[in-house]
């Protein structure tokens, strides 16, 4: 079993919004689908803000609207009405090219199924966002290598996803999400495809990233995962039914320490 990653995150060059505006702000956000002639309000008038440096868990059952909400604040989906402001910028009027640039620069995505390109090395997978940022080949390789080393995958640079464990694949995906130095990490059920121990590894990484100043937003339906966050927002039927700080946070780093103590014993 690979030792958990112990990355030392650089905080000095971390982009931050000095303006004091919320990093994510939604105003009366509505997303309506028409299914078989019936209107379904997936998200029904949600207004909330997430500040720079927060660690938020977005909770809810399947169909609660949490994923639709996440897709809209990730600028992947367009609201039916209402607005999404990222870093103080209204996204409603932006062109698809500007939205692509915004995602590229400010948002790092982590998916449940990792979504790595098959038959493509770790380093090339991590470098993909840099292609679209217009970074040249040499710099792409350097930055991707740096992030993979941060994730404890310095010896896995040429490996394709098929040659990596689930936890390693998700760490490659996190490296890819971080490679453009985004302001926030949007993780959709990041541990959904992982076992408990590997999940703890991933949550420990999120903890360290958050400690280094990155805003982390995790969408999950599991309380155990949500308990790692500092703030918990719960959705039901497209509306926010709960928004509170998490008491007695689970600290993933401590969890893992305990586990290794148990193992040693």
């Amino acid at each position: 079993m690979a030792k958990p990653a112990s990355p030392e995150f650089r905080t000095a060059d971390r982009a931050s919004n000095s303006s004091g505006r919320p990093l994510v702000e939604t105003r009366d956000l509505v997303k309506t689908y028409t299914l078989g002639g019936e209107q379904i309000h997936a998200v029904n008038g949600v207004s909330l803000s997430i500040e720079q440096g927060e660690y938020v868990a977005i909770m809810g059952t399947s169909g609660s609207g949490k994923s639709t909400f996440m897709n809209m604040i990730g600028c992947l989906d367009v609201p039916t009405s209402g607005s999404v402001l990222i870093d103080g910028i209204e996204t409603g009027a932006m062109s698809s090219d500007d939205l692509a640039l915004l995602r590229n620069e400010k948002i790092g995505f982590v998916f449940q199924q990792f979504n790595l390109l098959a038959r493509t090395s770790s380093i090339d997978n991590v470098a993909v966002p840099l292609i679209y940022a217009g970074i040249d080949t040499q710099a792409r390789r350097e930055l991707a290598t740096e992030k993979l080393i941060d994730m404890g995958l310095g010896d896995r640079l040429p490996n394709t996803p098929a040659k990596l464990s689930g936890g390693q694949q998700q760490r490659v995906a996190i490296a890819r999400a971080l490679v453009t130095e985004p302001l926030m990490l949007l993780a959709d059920e990041p541990t959904g495809a992982l076992d408990t121990r590997t999940s703890a590894e991933i949550m420990a990484i999120f903890e360290q990233l958050n400690a280094a100043g990155i805003t982390v937003i995790v969408v999950t339906h599991e309380d155990e995962i949500a308990d790692h966050a500092k703030r918990r927002i719960a959705f039901r039927d497209g509306e926010v039914i709960e928004d509170r700080p998490v008491e007695n946070r689970t600290i993933a780093a401590r969890e893992m320490e305990q586990e290794s103590v148990e193992e040693d014993a």
């Binding site: 910028i89 500007d98 640039l101 620069e105």
Partner: protein, 421 residues
């Protein structure tokens, strides 16, 4: 309200394209068998079109060569009414040696004249016989056609004056009668009349399927006395005549000059039909160029159908590829790919697919052309221009047939693409 300052991402323009090519090659390698089968269509198409163009060019070249070998820069005058204007005349035309002398006097730039009589004859030597069309002419014939002798000598003025029984054999005729032996000095019976062979013409090849070497030359005076009899309307009449011009003489003008002289002599009025027909080598060339051009266009048009089918195959496979990689497209969009990045990625993939197919097709066409030239003795030149054109066209084909799938890919919504299983 602040809006995002739209940053320009120009720095990576070139590396962006090289990345697109790398992505395309990876995608093609991933589905190697499918890529090869798809390329096959374009390959066959480019092969067919390239070969069609080359065959057309080859035909053009060989026609030009054979017209040149027949004699360049000359007019042929035939005593047949010129019905080109659509008016019919059933009168027999006229052309005489005196007409030729008038032309020589009045038309500028003439190099040589070759008045001719032509009679089908039977040549016999020691039990071997050969049928050919004998040409009764003057020394001017050799000057105009450039048909020199390999052995012996050609007709001289003295032969004409004395109407001597001498014969200059074409290569084919000589081989029929004498095989590989030197015929000079031998006696040949021409329709029973003994002639002495004084020369052997050099090999000339064919023009429009006519073997220029299947011939025998004799003095025009000899032929008139012994073989023409009273088949012609007058004692001075000709079957046809060549008028050879100096280099640089413009044949259309020369044709007008000859026409005027002859119309004058035959008192042709206004719209009346000329009792003679004049054709120039330039007209032959233009006509055969047109014919080979049409021939080439038809070949290329037929071959293009296979290229079109190949292109549709590319479009089909690209659509499949886009569908299969919808999730990848969604992912790339989430990571910051603009619609144009996605579009370019698939365009490049289609163009690479087509170019590779085109390159292989071109190589095959070149090999076939070389084989045809070597074994069929027919020049099929796949020139550099044709080759570059074929490559550029196949890449272009990729862009055309790749654009619909590529645009479809670029229009996908990021979230719907990502959700696709």
């Amino acid at each position: 309200m602040a809006t995002a300052a739209p940053k320009k991402r120009t720095a990576g323009f070139l590396s962006g394209w090289s990345v697109n090519i790398a992505i395309a090659l990876t995608a093609l390698r991933t589905n190697l068998m499918r890529s090869i089968l798809t390329m096959l269509g374009v390959m066959i198409g480019v092969f067919a079109v390239t070969l069609a163009v080359a065959v057309g060019n080859g035909a053009q070249t060989s026609v030009m060569e054979s017209i040149n070998s027949f004699g360049s820069n000359m007019a042929i005058v035939i005593p047949q009414p010129d019905n080109e204007g659509g008016r019919q005349s059933f009168d027999r035309g006229r052309l005489t040696s005196r007409d030729m002398r008038a032309i020589e006097r009045e038309v500028p730039g003439i190099r040589a004249l070759a008045p001719q009589l032509r009679v089908g004859v039977d040549l016999v030597v020691a039990g071997t016989d050969a049928g050919t069309t004998a040409v009764g002419t003057t020394p001017g014939y050799g000057v105009i056609t450039g048909h020199d002798v390999d052995r012996g000598r050609t007709l001289g003025e003295a032969d004409i004056r004395s109407a001597s029984r001498v014969l200059v054999l074409g290569r084919t005729t000589s081989e029929t009668l004498f095989g590989d032996f030197d015929p000079v000095g031998e006696t040949v019976r021409v329709n029973g009349v003994p002639f002495t062979v004084i020369g052997l013409l050099e090999e000339k090849g064919s023009t429009f399927g006519n073997d220029n070497d299947d011939t025998a030359l004799m003095p025009i005076s000899t032929m008139r006395q012994r073989f023409v009899g009273d088949t012609l309307p007058g004692p001075d009449d000709l079957h046809l005549a060549y008028v050879g011009f100096e280099d640089g003489v413009l044949l259309p003008q020369a044709k007008i000059d000859i026409t005027n002289v002859l119309r004058d002599r035959y008192r042709v009025q206004g719209d009346d039909v000329n009792p003679f027909t004049i054709r120039t080598t330039q007209e032959f060339m233009e006509e055969s160029q047109m014919i080979t051009g049409i021939f080439q266009a038809v070949l290329v048009a037929i071959a293009s159908i296979s290229l079109l089918v190949g292109g549709i195959g590319i479009m089909n496979i690209m659509l499949v590829s886009v569908t299969e990689r919808t999730r990848e497209i969604g992912l790339r969009m989430a990571l910051g790919a603009r619609r144009s990045d996605i579009r370019n990625q698939f365009l490049v993939e289609a163009a690479v697919l087509c170019s590779l197919g085109g390159a292989v097709g071109l190589a095959l066409a070149w090999l076939s052309g070389a084989a045809l030239a070597a074994y069929a003795d027919f020049p099929v030149p796949v020139g550099v221009g044709v080759a570059l054109g074929a490559l550029a066209f196949s890449a272009f084909l990729g862009l055309i047939f790749g654009s619909y799938p590529a645009i479809r890919a670029s229009r996908l919504s990021p979230i719907e693409a990502l959700r696709t299983e």
